[in-house]
Amino acid sequence: MMKKFYTVNRPMVSAEDFDGETVVIHFDTGNYYSLDNFGSLLWQAIESGSNLGQLPEILQNHFPAAETAWADLVDKVTAELLKEDLIRPLAEPPQKPSKDLDLTILGPAPRPADLGTVSKFDDLQEMLLMDPIHDIDDEAGWPHARQ
């Protein structure tokens, strides 16, 4: 079985769970995200140091969907989290005690095709940047705008 371990990209990334929806903030890029219940489960697995390579089998044992469908979903969401610089891969398993995943957040009969939405918001990016008002003339300083 493939070993796939990841960790959250702290300290620039922080996340909180709200009844199966996870809000993730990236303090360096100014983007923030909402993960659906599957994304929340995946995040839970990453935070607990689980091997994501085992997740499709675990899901297939609990829910009526092909393991390949779950594997594709895990890969898809993981790839998105990596692309957004929210997580990074680990060469070795993290040194932490394993925790059981709360699969109930997926509901009684989840379908992989309906899951895995990672919503990205960049409307507050400019707030993170340093010149909210105007460009300042380098020599004259404020309140002289650059010509």
């Binding site: 300290p11 922080s14 709200f18 507050l124 707030m127 340093m130 010149d131 105007h134 300042i136 309140p143």
Partner: protein
Amino acid sequence: MTGWRQMHHSDQTPEGRQTPGQTLETTLGTTEKSEKFFRRLLSIWENAAADSEEVEKNLLLCEGHLRLRFATRPLARLISRAFQHCRPPVTPDHNPFTIYVFAGREKEFFAQLPWEKKDFAAPRGELRSGFEPDLLAASYLMEIVYICSPKRKEALYWFRHEHYIPYFEQAAPCRPILHWWLRDNGWLMVHGAGIGDGGKSILLMGKSGSGKSTLSVAAANSGFQFLGEDYCAVRNDPFPRLATIFSTVKLTPESCRLLKLEPSETILEITGKHLFFLSDKLIREIPDGLPLAALVLPETRPQEMAGVQPLTSAQNAIQLSVSSLYQLPHSGGAEFRKLAQLARELPGWKVIIPTGRPERAMPALKEILASAPSTPRT
């Protein structure tokens, strides 16, 4: 060039960025290095105060004793107006948190700083010293610099120009420093407006342009207590509470017309907002904090009637946390965790306001407050 700058070029980090820790004597520990760095800058304030007429103000702000020591009278006048609602502490702290405020002496000041010009354009104005958390620093470009030593309970607040203080800084002075100080005292600064009624308060949240300012002033005009227009302080211990930080309001000319306000003092900026300082009457009515009953997200739409929709706790968290944390240097997961807890515990509502008719939202705001429990959670 001072010894500081000369060492800068010969002692680079792998990233090419110098930190104070690499320029001060290597035999000193981190705390000692940060102390030495802070004292060097404080001596500039001391020289500035010695050359002028120092003004000291002692304020009770969010239940803490804050001391402002201004090197000059003009700075005291421009900066302290935002704190007119603060009384002197009845029982002064023998060692209050002290902010030393000064301006000018640019060459002397920047000669002590390890940062390059590009460092002053970092996201959130955050300056990295290598001494965190012993020393926290931020800037507004190269115009304003904030440096805080939490252990010393002191901070430096420097301006490039004494007479050209940006209007947003006059409206919310030393915001990063207050954020760090409030955080150490159990409060969190949030981006939001506060209004109160019947012994409870609402935090109006949402990004800039959502209508918080207009709605908070409209509420004050309708008999609500005004607790803040752009930033407020919140805490969740022992129960959710909200307190006023600044007694100022910034409104667009359109909002002024809508609210029938004639600005007695206008500071014309490229954004075109007017800065108001609260009247004595409104200042007298500002309470010493109120239990926080609900979170409200205003939204303006072209419709006749106001409306109310519930928010999920995740939506609460997004609206409450993101715009706050993105504006506050050296904030991150710890603050998000605390705000997330508030977002889970408090009911959240989207209040839809008919365009140009903020007064139509008042019944909804009263109802939200009335329906919130009157006994705080213990």
